[in-house]
């Protein structure tokens, strides 16, 4: 369980109440919790996915969405390989704010970060306020991936995380991302003991080599 080829750091950003924590919970625990506590500061989750033949550990940072918290959230961009930028398809304002989120992401993260734009709550079709096409075209114009998800029904949640991982993996294969550089948001897994970048990875290393 503990062994993996790479560790990718993700950050989930977007306005308050768009479903960031629910997406994380659905992805890591396969459940939806309609009544959950507000995220104050940051939350955190991890899961291993398989891309190609490789096991990749995703380490996901879920941030507070209220504007005040941006000053704190900015410190988490550093060293993120992937960002999930989330809006709520039933709330126009959360789509309108994407540009400022993107500006932060471009400014504070590394240049090669893979960004997935996510229109969440697609189970609420009747309340839709942002069309799919608008989401797609915003993504196209800004060089982002795009997907609509429902953290409630789990639709496309897995895909959003895995597709992002696949793109980061492609970038590694193509040599665009340097895995030895910490700021890339990628670390080698403990399966390669000689290359392990963990300073004190004893427990995982032991379990990892078999």
């Amino acid at each position: 369980m503990a062994s993996y080829a790479y560790l990718f750091k993700y950050i989930i950003i977007g306005d308050t109440g768009v479903g960031k924590s629910c997406l994380l919970l659905q992805f890591t625990d396969n459940r939806f919790q309609p009544a959950h506590d507000l995220t104050i500061g940051v939350e955190f989750g991890a899961r291993i996915v398989t891309v190609g033949q490789k096991r990749i550990k995703l380490q996901i940072w879920d941030t507070a969405g209220q504007e005040s918290f941006r000053s704190i959230t900015r410190s988490y961009y550093r060293g993120a390989a992937g960002a999930l930028l989330v809006y709520d398809i039933t709330r126009r304002d959360t789509f309108d704010h994407l540009a400022t989120w993107l500006e932060d992401a471009r400014k504070y993260s590394n240049a090669n970060i893979t960004i997935m734009l996510i229109g969440n709550k697609c189970d609420l079709e009747a309340k839709r306020a942002v069309s799919r096409e608008e989401g797609e075209s915003f993504a196209r114009e800004n060089g982002l991936f795009f997907i609509e998800t429902s953290a409630k029904t789990a639709a496309n949640v897995e895909e959003a995380f895995v597709h992002t991982a696949a793109d980061i993996h492609d970038k590694i294969q193509a040599g665009v991302l340097d895995v030895t550089n910490e700021s890339s948001g990628i670390k080698l897994g403990p399966t390669q003991p000689n290359l392990s970048s963990f300073p004190s990875g004893s427990a995982e290393t032991v379990r990892g080599c078999c």
Binding site: L7, G17, L38, G41, Q66, S68, S71, I72, S200, G201
Partner: protein
């Protein structure tokens, strides 16, 4: 039953050690926060009648996410949710510099759980922010960031081994103290510990945030050092500390071993502000964090004397 103590200082100390009787707790908090200084009769009603402003949307969305497991607030038709909404709306009008910031609802929820009326809860929120946390919930979260930097220094002095372990694994205090401090530990500690920490906080001020913060880390330090080799495990644990590790007997034993002086905290605050960590000019860090004790002790004596 009110207990007579020989000197005000002893009263205060004993209160922290033995706990305040439940029914007196709101009154004691009100007195320490000097709520009477700012309370204006009829003003809360007046604030409730003011116009809707954009921040209400944010408050509204947060209400169901404030103590969703507590019986007072779990139902969206409940009196508890309505009061929470009213109080936060009123505060947004009362103090436009702060408006509303996530985390404030956790304070209000505790007041309501102590069976305080909405109006009393509102004034205690206002007094608490004014007296202890004036720059906490402002849009720049200035004091949260300063205190986080101060906490990092205190941790280095207090538990160097753990501080190094964090540093090597890129764990900074902002990752965990943000929720500790902004919710006054309500998301982290078991209830039996929360209320006693609050008693202490109202008596001694924000110094208690640091002291309890360091005590929490002391309670879990061994686990973090031996069982959490990378930042994944560390964060996972830090953000979800098993409640039994922080039961009053463990937490307060640890807190009693933490010694920090207010003037030291003040000095560190000035240092981190000077180095530009979160500087924003109008900070009140040059003032001491210690609430003016003399007048409070007198009030306290009045409350508790037979």
């Amino acid at each position: 039953t009110p207990v007579h103590f020989p000197t005000p200082n002893n009263q205060a100390r004993k209160m922290v050690i033995y706990g305040i009787p439940t029914t007196l707790r709101p009154r004691v908090w009100q007195f320490f926060a000097e709520e009477a200084k700012i309370r204006q009769s009829g003003f809360y009603e007046d604030l409730l009648n003011r116009e809707r402003i954009p921040i209400f949307d944010v408050i509204e969305r947060d209400i169901p996410r404030c103590y969703p497991d507590h019986q007072l607030f779990c139902d969206n038709q409940s009196e508890g949710q309505r009061q929470l909404f009213d109080i936060l709306k009123a505060y947004a009008h009362y103090n436009p510099e702060v408006g509303y910031c996530q985390g404030m609802g956790r304070l209000v929820g505790v007041f309501l759980m102590q069976h305080m009326s909405a109006e009393d809860s509102f004034w205690l929120l206002a007094a608490t922010i004014r007296q202890y946390l004036p720059q906490y919930y402002v849009p720049t979260l200035t004091q949260v960031r300063i205190d986080s930097a101060v906490f990092e220094k205190l941790l280095q002095e207090h538990n160097r081994k753990l501080a190094n372990h964090f540093a090597v694994n890129d764990i900074t205090p902002l990752m965990y103290v943000t929720s500790w401090f902004m919710t006054l530990f309500t998301m982290t500690l078991p209830w039996a510990s929360v209320l006693r920490v609050w008693d202490w906080f109202y008596l001694k001020g924000t110094k208690i945030l640091f002291r309890i913060g360091l005590a929490i880390l002391d309670c879990i330090s061994d686990h973090l050092l031996t069982e959490c080799p990378t930042n994944s495990e560390i964060l996972q644990y830090l953000l979800h500390i098993p409640k039994d590790k922080l039961a009053p007997e463990h937490l307060f034993a640890a807190a009693n071993r933490v010694r920090i002086k207010t003037h030291h905290i003040d000095r560190l605050s000035r240092q981190v502000t000077l180095h530009g960590v979160p500087a924003r000019g109008e900070l009140s860090t040059s003032e001491s964090r210690s609430p003016q004790k003399s007048s409070k002790r007198r009030v306290f004596q009045r409350v508790f004397s037979p």
